[in-house]
């Protein structure tokens, strides 16, 4: 019930997506970094959705 490890993993990936986005902008809009940011963001969304049933 409540918080669980899956949420922690999802949060880690979510923070990574922001870090990659920032790195992408740092390198003048680097497409590789920005694409990785989008992928990790979507990955975190999937992980959060997967974690929902574990909360109850």
């Amino acid at each position: 019930m409540g918080a669980n490890s899956q949420q922690g993993i999802a949060l880690l990936v979510f923070f990574a997506s922001f870090t990659l986005a920032s790195a992408g902008m740092f390198y003048g809009g680097n497409v590789v970094f920005l694409a990785l940011a989008v992928v990790t963001f979507l990955g975190s969304v999937a992980l959060f959705l997967k974690a929902k049933p574990l909360e109850s």
Binding site: A3, F15, F48
Partner: protein
């Protein structure tokens, strides 16, 4: 209904914004902006559950619009008196002969008990030891001293503001029930880190990347890239583009570091406002994700518009509206953004279980520790001396000494705010309510935050007094009419009174402040409606329209997204048990026996 409400809310912002292109008349613009604000408020009503809507609210909006429109037409005709030019100081040349008369190091052979020999020309850094002390050395030292004083002042004020996090933490934890104390404390603890991470990665460049040179900090020429669109024949700044990771395009710079620290703690104040409104039911993971969005996008975008060289700041230079949107220390930028976001999130999460009875009347849910609440209010008031006076970004030059006036204004408004609240509650309910007295104290401080740099002490006292009463009325309205559950009253303290502070600037600014001879690129001093500049009030109202019509919609959409993929609210089982165990894994008070709440669970 929700989407229609959001669309109408944004339409209000669009109406207000379009006034910039439709007309050059100040009074017509004021009417359009007011109409936009009303439309946005109607839209927010539409976001509420239809059962909570009241027809009389709409009627009052129309009456208020008519009255304010008449006021606008009456006052717009008053001309603004031109500001007197400061007398120029006579230039005096410095010669080497003057400097040779300085105290020698040998004079301190017997110490310096009275301090008269310490801090002399001998302490000036010499560029070339062979040449000795030169005029250039002295001039460089003077410049370094001025900027050093300003750095020290701004950094110390930033440290004070950082300590406000502790004040928010104990106020919010004290106002929640004991079974949620660990969870509420942990939200306030991590909001500092999560907000800072978001701001470091994304938020700071968006906010300050195009701010330009900040003279009081020795210039920040590297913050020089603002994304603009061309509209109504003017450049409309939307967000900054440089400063990523504080190393992007030369931003690894001491002045940039100072402004980052100072602006970061402002942003963190915004994020911690939301945790109060949503305590006792907010899923911890959702809190972290939502805070990332607020610290990375919502806050920095509005802060760029107001403080980073964006379109609101340029309303004066581009459209002749006073000195542009003037928000000295953030009633709008910090507090209203937090309050408006708290409102959007509260609408998504809904009230705590047991807060409202079946007939819709509110059920009081008292906090568990009023001593922490009032102690936290004092911590916050202490931190406010960094918040407002520190916003001069200077003690030396460009009107930095005005910080003394700002500090006194802050004290006065807090004092009259607490009087307003305590007397209102005493007269209306027969008792001087402790938590509302604390909230009224904070409301006075919130309301004076925007005007503190532009108004006189009497106006500060009036602004605080109104805020103290306003927060009580607003809390009653939010709870009893809108049926929104706000355990700490943050929507009223920060949202309502933040907006009041923004409007008060447009009314009470007396034109006596002088920060280097101009504000937001417009020569002269910020002057409100009561001192002859109706255009300043229009600029302030445009800021309010943006807060209600744009920031609310943006916050709502971000948090709707979070609700979809994380889920904003804990399960009913967790909520009834208290969030300390299910969300945090430990009780705040493990040795206490928690009181059962039969009425809540029924």
């Amino acid at each position: 209904m929700t989407l229609i409400g959001l669309a109408v809310t944004f339409l209000g912002f669009a109406i207000a914004f379009s006034s910039l292109g439709v007309t050059d008349s100040t009074s017509t613009r004021m009417v359009m902006v007011l109409a936009g604000i009303v439309v946005s408020l109607v839209g927010i009503m539409g976001v509420l559950t239809p059962a909570y809507q009241k027809k009389w609210i709409y009627k009052k909006f129309v009456i208020a619009l008519a009255l304010l429109g008449c006021l606008a037409h009456a006052e717009a005709a008053r001309a603004q008196a031109p500001a007197a030019a400061p007398a120029a100081a006579a230039a005096v040349a410095i010669t080497d002969a003057d400097l040779k008369a300085a105290v020698k190091p040998t004079d301190r052979a017997n110490g310096d008990p009275d301090g008269s020999l310490t801090g002399t020309a001998n302490d000036i850094a010499v560029a070339d030891p062979k040449a000795g002390l030169t005029v250039a050395d002295v001039l460089n030292q003077i410049g370094a001293n001025r900027i050093g004083v300003n750095f020290a002042w701004t950094l110390l004020c930033g440290f004070l503001i950082m300590f406000m996090q502790a004040g928010f933490a104990v106020v919010e934890a004290g106002l929640c029930r004991a079974k949620n104390a660990n969870h509420t404390m942990m939200m306030n603890f991590m909001v500092y880190g999560v907000g800072m991470l978001a701001y470091f990665l994304i938020g700071f460049p968006l906010q300050m990347g195009g701010a330009g040179a900040i003279a009081n900090l020795g210039g920040t020429p590297v913050l020089n890239s603002e994304f603009v669109i061309h509209l109504f024949g003017k450049d409309i700044g939307l967000f900054g583009q440089t400063g990523y990771l504080l190393m992007h395009r030369g931003t690894y710079d001491v002045a940039v570091m100072v402004i980052f620290l100072f602006q970061m703690v402002f942003m963190d104040t915004t994020t911690t406002i939301v945790t109060g409104t949503l305590c006792e039911r907010w899923k911890y993971a959702a809190f972290m994700v939502s805070t990332m969005f607020l610290g990375a996008f919502t806050y920095p975008i509005f802060a760029n518009w107001a403080w980073g060289g964006g379109w609101l700041a340029m309303l004066g230079a581009n459209f002749g509206l006073g000195h542009g949107y003037a928000d000295f220390a953030g009633s709008g930028v910090v507090h209203s953004v937090g309050g408006v976001t708290a409102l959007a999130c509260a609408l998504i999460l809904g009230p705590r279980i047991g807060k409202f009875r079946k007939d819709g009347t509110p059920n009081p849910i008292p906090g568990h520790d009023i001593m922490w609440v009032l102690c936290g209010c004092f911590i916050l008031a202490f931190g406010w001396f960094g918040f407002n006076p520190g916003s001069t970004l200077a003690m030396s030059g460009n009107g930095g000494l005005r910080a003394a006036s700002v500090a006194v204004n802050t004290m006065l408004a807090g004092m009259t705010g607490s009087f307003g609240g305590i007397l209102y509650m005493w007269i209306r309910y027969g008792k001087p309510d402790a938590s509302m007295s604390g909230n009224a104290f904070l409301a006075g401080l919130v309301a004076i935050t925007a005007p503190s740099g532009f108004v006189n002490p009497v106006a500060s006292a009036v602004i605080g007094l109104i805020a103290g009463v306003l927060v009580c009325v607003s809390c009653e309205f939010v709870e009893r009419v809108l049926k929104i559950d706000d355990p700490v009253g943050a929507i009223s303290v920060h949202g309502t009174n933040g907006i009041w502070g923004v409007i008060a600037t447009g009314l009470f600014a007396d034109g006596k402040s002088n920060y280097g001879g101009s504000w937001n690129g417009v020569n002269g001093n910020v002057t409100g409606l009561f001192y002859g500049d109706a255009g300043q009030l229009v600029a302030q109202l445009l800021g309010v329209a943006t807060l209600i019509g744009f920031v609310f919609v943006l916050s709502f959409l971000f948090n709707l997204l979070v609700d979809w993929f994380v889920g904003q609210r804990v399960s009913a089982k967790s909520e009834l048990a208290g969030l300390d165990m299910p969300e945090m894994g430990a009780l705040a008070y493990p040795d206490f026996v928690l009181k059962p709440e039969p009425e809540m669970t029924a």
